[in-house]
């Protein structure tokens, strides 16, 4: 696509073919910042590229910011959790605004993030940091004491999450002190949270000049398994409340531009609890789902709101109207093998023959023995559905959990 030199020049931090494809087809100049294993590929396909290994920030970190500045890059966009603080560091140089780096650190640490949200008047559950297994046992006991449980009553579970990992990686649910022993020592320190019974959902909000320009609600059918957009009418009912919550978040974290991806609970009494927020594209291919129903490319949307040269008019013209402009509902389901030993991929006929079924990205199994799942985590691939009715889609996604895709 013809690039417009009057518009921003954007650096993409991390390797994502979908993001590169979106950038290639967008009217802004771009450059990919990725580890050096990407070099051959970029050369072969004429992808603008500068090598960088994203390890911990160190004394040399300024080099990449200066390299990009010399090239005339206007802003850097993080594509993965691991590149969020890099984007903060780089953008504080490119945009000459040191606060951006501090903000990115807040967004990288789940415990800091919760405290900041609390300070901003946002409701969060009970949480604490754990440095070893004893901390976990103590927290589990105390949470259940608070709930006035007697010895022998089934415990309410608690959730453990890594401080600085994306989404479900390292997420565990603990119900009894025995289960604490299954946590490997190297996972500590972790963040512990009380369990909230309620409806969990996520939001993708594009922010430009401190204002929400597009707000999507992604409805989880089962956390870690399935999600669809836009949300069902029952959840969309809360849109106004949710918008207010996001505005609080923007204020608390002082966000001027970019894409945020927070998670919330709605409890049965309609109260919103903040879970966490990420400053990067969501996992689980929500971007693809959005494109399927709204027709806009969410990576391009992100570049647009990050670009300091974008005008409010251009931004307003880019985004459709939430919910009303959606052409149906699109969802995806992450497949986990249910058997311990599998030999091949076999999409159930009922799934494949369903009119909502669109495509899948499952591949044949590499190994016959399935590693036992210890935490929420890596599914073996996604299957995509699209249809006109939110409830049919939701039930369909839920039903997939009972089917075998690997036999």
């Amino acid at each position: 696509m013809q690039k417009d030199p009057n518009k921003g020049y954007i650096a993409l931090l991390g390797w994502s073919l979908n993001a590169i494809e979106a950038a290639e087809n967008f009217d802004r100049r771009y450059i990919v910042v990725a580890p050096d294993w990407a070099e051959d590929y970029c050369q072969k396909h004429d992808i603008p590229y500068v090598p960088w290994n994203f390890e911990r920030l160190n004394d040399r970190s300024i080099e990449i910011a200066e390299t990009l500045k010399e090239k005339g890059v206007d802003v850097a966009i993080p594509l993965y959790e691991e590149t969020v603080e890099w984007a903060g560091a780089i953008n504080s140089v490119l945009l000459d605004n040191p606060r951006i780096y501090g903000q990115s650190l807040l967004l990288r640490d789940k415990a800091l993030m919760k405290r900041r949200a609390q300070l901003g008047g946002i409701r969060v559950g009970i949480f604490e940091e754990a440095h070893d297994k004893e901390d976990v046992v103590r927290f589990l006991k105390r949470v259940n004491q608070t709930l006035l449980k007697l010895d022998g009553d089934p415990n309410d579970p608690i959730h453990l999450k890594a401080f600085d990992k994306a989404g479900c990686l390292g997420h565990r649910v603990i119900r009894t002190p025995d289960e604490v022993d299954t946590i490997p020592d190297e996972e500590f320190p972790v963040l512990m949270e009380s369990h909230l019974d309620g409806w969990e959902f996520a939001v993708e909000a594009w922010i430009h000049k401190g204002k929400i320009v597009f707000l999507n609600i992604s409805e989880y059918v089962t956390l870690g398994y399935s999600v669809f957009v836009p949300a069902s009418p029952e959840l969309e009912k809360y849109r106004e409340q949710i918008t207010q919550q996001i505005e609080k978040l923007i204020k608390a974290f002082d966000i001027e531009f970019g894409l945020i991806h927070p998670e919330y609970f709605v409890t049965s009494d309609g109260e919103m609890y903040f879970g966490e927020v990420a400053y990067r594209p969501p996992g689980f291919k929500v971007f693809e789902l959005l494109e399927k129903v709204y027709g806009f490319n969410a990576y391009q949307a992100t570049m647009l709101v990050f670009d300091p040269k974008s005008t409010s008019e251009e931004v307003a013209a880019f985004f459709p109207k939430e919910v009303v402009d959606a052409d149906g509902f699109a969802g995806c389901f992450g497949v986990y093998p249910r058997r311990r030993v599998v030999s091949r991929l076999e999409i159930p006929e009922e799934t494949e023959d369903h009119p909502y079924f669109e495509s899948h990205e499952l591949t044949a199994p590499m190994e016959e023995t399935v590693t036992k799942r210890t935490a929420f985590g890596t599914h073996w691939g996604l299957i995509y559905f699209k249809g006109d009715d939110a409830h049919t889609l939701r039930d369909l996604l839920k039903h997939q959990e009972e089917l075998d895709f690997y036999v």
Binding site: E21, H45, E346, E352
Partner: protein, 675 residues
Amino acid sequence: MTTDNSISPPSNEKLTGLLAKLDDAVRLLLQAPAFSKPGKLPRVLDTARRVLLQEGGAAAIEQRAQALEAAGVFAGSDWETPQYLVPSLTPHALKSADPNVVVIESLSELRLLAVSKGEYIHDQISAEHAHHYLTQTMAINLWLLFSTPSEAERETQGRLAMIPRHLFQHLAERIGYEHVIDQLIEEIWRILKQRPIQVDSIKQMIMQIALCQANPEIDLGSSGQGADRLVSSLFGPTQACREDPGLDVYRERLDHMDQASLQAEATGFARAMHDTGLVSPYHPVLLRHLLEENDNLVAETLGLSSTGRDCLMCYRELVHALIRGGVYPATSQALYGLSLMLERGILYQPPVAPAMWRQLGLVLSEWSEARLTLTYGDTASPRARLLEGVVCMLGMPLGVGQGNNPTCQSARALSMWAYNDPDYLLQMVAWAARDDEIIMHFEGQPISSMASLSGVATELPMDLDPVSLLVVPHLDRIYAEMGRRCVGREGDPHRWVNPEFHGWWSGRGFRINVDVATGNLFEVDDFLRHFYASYHPYYNGNQPLIHPQPAGIAFTDSAARFIGWHAITILRITLDPRDVMRVYFYNPNNDSGQDWGDEVKVSTAGSGERFGEASLPIEQFASRLYIFHYDPLERGDLSKVPDTELESVKGYLFRSWGASRIPPTDLQATQAPVK
């Protein structure tokens, strides 16, 4: 107004929905920049798979063929260059358990259909070429038109097995059955002229044709005439079984026949058998009948010449025992093998007849019995099945095929022994079938097939003749072990392995024209000069080749591109009926008639070939040769080999597999000197 019109059949609705999804996926693929196309392809293939499962799906894909190719469905794969596609590879792709392979093959056939119909003007392949390719493909896959999925297909492919069937129904409707049948008949004759040992699939194809002819719903037009000899040779070669009455009825008829009728039956069967190489199940019924009643017609029934007849007379008792033990309607090919074995006169070699007696009484190991039964079923006893295999291999040493396995070396060894050292072959069979172990020696060290862990092939082969079935796994492991013992030696291991593995007669002189380290060509002139001086009758003192010699060729495809290294046997070099100097050789591939590109077409009949031989003019053959053995003491005169002859060979070489292997120094040498 009727309400019927508003209700469309459900499958149609489904197809429409799927096609919308397919068009979406194709659009995404088309729009994607080259680097992200691979990521968009799986969705296209998967959606196409679901379309192909629907009634009418193939037609819908045919309409979209051009759009699919334009979007890049074939980019980067073999299917990108349809002009080089080989019909004989399609059955393998269509039977694949990998849905993507089945789908992309199907998409390619439908694309060629669109091309052949003139709906799609393709810049790489003409409508005629596409039509030709499709008819061959259909002929080879005729089973898909007329059969439901077998148990094996169901097991590996599941629902996927329906895709090739839908595809071929559509192809047959668009192209017409008559084209398929004639092509198929021609193909069958071509393969039969090579006299393979394994003819089960050919018999199946002939049965398909017979069924096709008998089916009133299939209009064959004027085609299929050439099939009569094939069909009759299997189902009714003589007067008394013309209408395929069944074995019991035929057996009863024999009881009431006079001498003249029996004589007519015997010659009728013999003629059919020697015409086609196929043996009707009725034929053994007659032979066994005559053995009891009238054994002076046995020679007639076997269709023997005076040589074979002599041999039969000398070894009457042995031959009778072989017939009783191995020639049944279920093992009818044994009859042909027996006949050709007698014609070869190998029973006169002192150890062969006693070794055959051992074979007759051989007690098979449990493992051997189980393997034979698993592969061939239980219509014949494992011992009879193996006996059939033995006489067939001794009768048709060049009919050994490697099946779909990477074991060309082992197949070549079996063929060479059957041809040159039959009692050694019988020894191998006894060891393998009875003891489950073969021990060979490598430079004085014994190598046991049981102690060697792995061979070239990773799984036990199933698609082989009975002898190969039992012996090849042992040979394969020994061969691989010999290779392992050469690790660390400089140069190509075949130098040491070939003579030790195949037999003392493999020349200890060894030449290779590829530098093992770099893969580049190496001393090409010297290599070719030695080959000509050792093998070409004009330069080696007109000495015919004495023993079959193992050799290695660089196998090229129809576009003359390098495919891989392959083992063959050089059998003889002589002038053909047109006075062209030809190399006649054995290729363990199941079908030797191959197009190696650059006008190098391997001939299997019509240029003086004996059954099972392949042949090429010597300069074309030499151009694909990369390894040969020779006797350094019997070498001809190197200086007599003219440069012009070698230039011609090098032309073929540099236009094919050698093109990308020319070392830098050679390039300089071939450049004209700068003045």
